[in-house]
Amino acid sequence: MSNLSVQDKVKISFSINGREIEGEAEPRKLLSDFIREDLGLTGTHVGCEHGVCGSCTVLYNGKAVRSCLMFAAQADGSEIQTVEGLAVNGQEHPLQTSFTECHGLQCGFCTPGILMSSVEMLNSGEEPTTQEIKEMLSGHLCRCTGYKGIIEAIEKVCKPNACKEGEN
């Protein structure tokens, strides 16, 4: 890699939402830009490009990562999942449904990133406390909702049997 110049493109192949893709990109091209511009998957949003707002979060081999802090080339050989891959056979992911039911979004710009981090939390198999949900969410900025609906939406799916009262 060290011998490449800015303009030399590198070949990249990875799986995105279960589909194998092959492409080329300059070594400096961000994964977020590659997903949006080259793959046309515009559900992944870019809000700060310095890893704070969390809008660009995708799953990289099952782990929630900021796609604006990775180069596309680093994704070579990996499995990436974006918000477009959450629904299966036209059926919404339970988190997508609960975000609607709990009014967990307004403008929706931050939502795909938050969904991806929430999916990672759900897939971990361990039931989080409300505080753990808030701490996970502290890696995301939402300026519309004040987070209340988001927390409720995640609780609804990630801790369906938990008593909401008295835990903070």
Partner: protein, 803 residues
């Protein structure tokens, strides 16, 4: 069945949770779009000696570089509602006046190359002395930013209502204080975005942008571009990633990219990055307020003198200096104060220009006003609730006309206050607080009463001019908004709105309203919220600002739906041979009130208007396509005494907030935030709750964490989200929201706007709570944010933070 008032799920959500939302950067409406990057000033104040663009232009992939001189040659400075000759172009011409100001635009085949080219541009500057603080700008000694103005004061007005002199003569006490409100933004998570295309054959600009109005700014843009108004077509994307007012400030970039497209002959796209957004987009004003209260011993406030100076940044940009006047009609808040003097000043300094932001002018205004209620009670040795109640308007006084001309349409402020006190157990708290102080714990309780104006009257902005200046031009009034309801030949209902939502769920509420009017399922209705200035039903006041959808936008939808309903009833009446007054519309059909078996399906009535116009009654036009424009008669232009009703409806918010302050660290912990709301009739409780929480989070951010900070040389210090701190989920306290409903008597649905109240209340209620907690230490909060270093310095009486 009524859908209004029900917590319907939002129709917007399905696309937004699946990645099918369409935001500005997702658009590619034309072939051959090229990409812009903007070179920005590193200086707060400097002369531009020369710009060397040759190296940048040589870079492969670069189409060209445009500088201020070229832009100025093709445009006029933006008009603004004050008389001083400030020349504001969308890019620096000869001088830069804030860090982040655009200096050159590179257009290249992609953004990466455009940014590479920025580093090849060399600019020679001659640095000038900056002006950073409001009080420096007020001084005649300060360096003048705009030579043609000759001063840094760009607007200055005096107002006098009632008999202020007598009020101060008759006072038992006169209490004077000074406050400072910081410069904050609302930082929507989506940044600005523009695609612009100039077509030479038509001499016309088509500009896509996440711009949400006010569409008064359309005229500001066409003036700058020097084209007839129908030669600037503005199109908004289906989805806008939040704004809270901030995105109205994208308009200079719309003009800039339009001109760049014209110069370079290609469609251009620019997506702002976060550093650009924080340094150079838009923000609220910082404000210094001097306030004097004339009070009786029993807590009655006889009169107020308020002087405030807003910092509008390097240029005064429309709709500024409206921040000074947005709260003018509710300047005395929730209180019966008939004697008021106001001195309003706007200054320019070497900071970024300001504009609309959630709460617009309200947080700055209520900070001194509601701090004074606590200060007065302290001074007089009275309970703050007693002082509030003494002056608080009673239910019987509505509709209430304020000293400045505001007409509060409805309310029951005492009921809201009592509900809050019950909810928090006020008496119990006072006991607990005394105990805590004894144990070295600092608990405090703060209150704030906020009259929340919604639905701006276009006329209020002209308060920036004297009555004599206003008399020279067409008066401005009203708050017009349009909507179109149409039904196609197959019965499909489509609604077109011009309220340009940025996440507030207008599509959902529109569907609820039309569903009620036409007796159909809201899910069957298609709402088109994308604005297109050549096809949408819009007027000068259209757009998303001043919480105007609930009182005005929804009313336009309601009126358009009524027009369609009336037409369908007339068609059905002729078919059934029954007068229209005897018909009702529900469940997809029109039927006779007293004989429900007799009726005609909606589809049939609609079909007649399209497929068989010869069967229509006399005088009924074919087709179903009705537009309504709605305004309110209470939105009149200001009179010669500067009396104006600046908003159409006025809601109410009462906050009671409990905090604990750690005096070792200066850290504030919010224990409980109780907020009582009265926004009249609530259209959708889910959306109401979301709006309140969102507005509260903005107020909380401004109170505790956020500030666009500059150093003494005007260098910008908070260019990333690591420096500009927004509240995250872990910072949001427990919030209890309760409602009372005093329907507005002047809107068809009884609704008032909401969502800005807690943005206005949170900064001051937290300042009051912290002051209350630190009472034994005699600390009085007069500036924000309530960062630990500031509070610690106050407690330990160390001036480590300069004001």
């Amino acid at each position: 069945m009524s859908y209004i008032g029900k917590p319907l799920k939002r129709v917007e959500d399905a696309r937004l949770v699946s990645g099918e939302g369409t935001y500005m950067d997702d658009l590619s409406p034309l072939p051959n779009i090229h990409h812009a990057a903007i070179l920005r000033s590193p200086h707060a104040h400097a002369k531009i000696i020369q710009i060397h663009t040759e190296e940048a232009e040589k870079l492969p992939g670069v189409i060209g570089v445009v500088t201020g001189e070229q832009v100025a040659a093709l445009t006029r400075p933006f008009p603004v509602g004050v008389r001083v000759p400030v020349k504001y172009y969308p890019i620096a011409v000869e001088k830069v006046r804030f860090v982040g100001e655009a200096v050159a635009v590179v257009i290249a085949k992609n953004r990466y190359i455009a940014e590479d080219a920025l580093s090849l541009i060399k600019v020679e500057y001659k640095a000038l002395d900056p002006v950073v603080h409001i009080e420096d700008a007020l001084s005649e000694e300060s360096t003048v930013l705009h030579e043609e103005v000759g001063s840094n004061i760009v607007n200055h007005r005096f107002f006098n209502y009632g008999n202020v002199e007598d009020a101060f003569k008759n006072a038992d006490r006169v209490i004077r204080k000074k406050f400072h409100f910081p410069k904050v933004s609302a930082t929507p998570v989506e940044n600005y975005g523009v695609i612009a295309n100039y077509t030479k054959s038509e001499d016309a600009y088509t500009i896509w942008a996440n711009f949400h109005g006010p569409f008064t700014l359309h005229s500001v843009m066409t003036a700058a571009l020097k084209v007839p108004s129908n030669r600037l077509r503005i199109i908004t994307p289906k989805d806008i990633g939040g704004s809270y007012g901030i995105k109205s400030g994208v308009f200079p970039y719309m003009v800039l990219m339009g001109v760049v497209s014209r110069i370079l002959g290609v469609p251009v796209k620019w997506t702002e990055d976060r550093q650009e957004h924080l340094s150079a987009s838009s923000s609220g004003t910082d404000r210094v307020s001097w306030i004097e209260a004339a009070v009786k011993k029993d807590g009655t406030i006889l009169g107020l003198k308020m002087k405030y100076a807003d910092n509008v940044g390097g240029y005064i940009r429309a709709p500024e200096p409206a921040s000074l006047y947005r709260t003018h009609s509710n300047a005395t808040g929730a209180y019966r104060i008939k004697n008021l003097e106001v001195e309003a000043i706007a200054v320019v300094t070497n900071k970024s220009p300001t504009g609309l932001i959630r709460g617009y002018g309200g947080p700055q205004h209520y900070f001194p006003l509601e701090r004074m209620m606590q200060i007065i009670s302290e001074d007089l040795g009275l309970d703050v609730i007693e002082v509030i109640k003494k002056n608080l308007l009673t239910k019987e006084e509505f509709p209430y006309q304020t000293a400045t001309g505001g007409i509060y349409d409805s309310g029951d402020y005492h009921k809201a206050l009592n509900l809050a006190l019950e909810s928090i157990d006020y008496e119990g708290f006072k006991q607990k607080q005394k105990e805590a102080w004894k144990n070295g714990k600092y608990l405090g309780l703060g209150f704030a009463c906020i009259v929340e104006p919604s639905g701006s009257n276009m006329g209020y902005i002209t308060l920036a001019l004297t009555p004599e200046e206003r008399a020279k031009s067409l008066p401005k009034s009203g708050c017009s908004e349009g909507a179109t309801v149409s039904i196609d030949p197959q019965g499909g209902i489509t609604v077109r709105i011009s309220t340009v939502p940025t996440g507030q769920g207008h599509e959902t509420v529109t569907a609820q309203i039309v569903a009620d009017a036409l007796g159909v399922d809201p899910a069957s209705i298609r709402v088109i919220a994308e604005m297109d200035t050549v096809t949408s039903p819009w007027s000068v006041a259209s757009g998303s600002y001043s919480s105007r959808f609930a009182p005005i936008g929804s009313s336009a939808v309601y009126q358009a739906a009524q027009k369609v309903k009336n037409k369908l009833l007339e068609i059905a009446a002729s078919q059934l041979n029954v007068p229209a007054e005897e018909l009702v519309i529900s469940d997809g059909k029109v039927s006779v009130k007293n004989d429900p078996e007799k009726g005609v399906s909606l589809k049939r009535a609609v079909g007649l208007a399209h497929w068989n116009p010869e069967g229509l009654p006399n005088g009924i036009e074919p087709g179903i396509h009705e537009t309504a424009f709605y305004t309110l008669p209470v939105a009149k232009s200001p009179n010669e005494k500067d009396i104006v009703n600046g908003s159409v409806t006025y809601g109410f918010v009462f906050d009671a907030v409990q905090v604990e302050v750690d005096i070792e660290t200066g850290e504030v912990k919010i224990i409980d935030y109780t907020t009582i709301h009265d926004a009249g009739k609530l259209l959708n409780p889910n959306i109401v709750e979301g709006q309140i929480m969102g507005g509260l989070a903005h107020g909380l951010g401004a109170a505790m964490y956020e500030e666009l900070a500059y150093d003494e040389r005007g260098q910008f210090l908070t260019g990333s989200f690591m420096d500009y701190l927004c509240p995250t989920a872990t910072e949001i306290p427990k919030v209890t929201i309760k409602h009372i409903e005093s329907p507005s008597p002047i809107t068809p649905l009884g609704a008032k706007g909401l969502g800005e109240g807690n943005t206005m209340s949170a900064p001051v209620v937290l300042a009051n709570a912290v002051t209350d907690a630190l009472k034994p230490l005699h600390v009085s909060i007069d500036q924000l944010p309530l960062s630990p270093d500031r509070i610690w310095s106050k407690i330990h009486n160390k001036n480590t933070v300069k004001m």
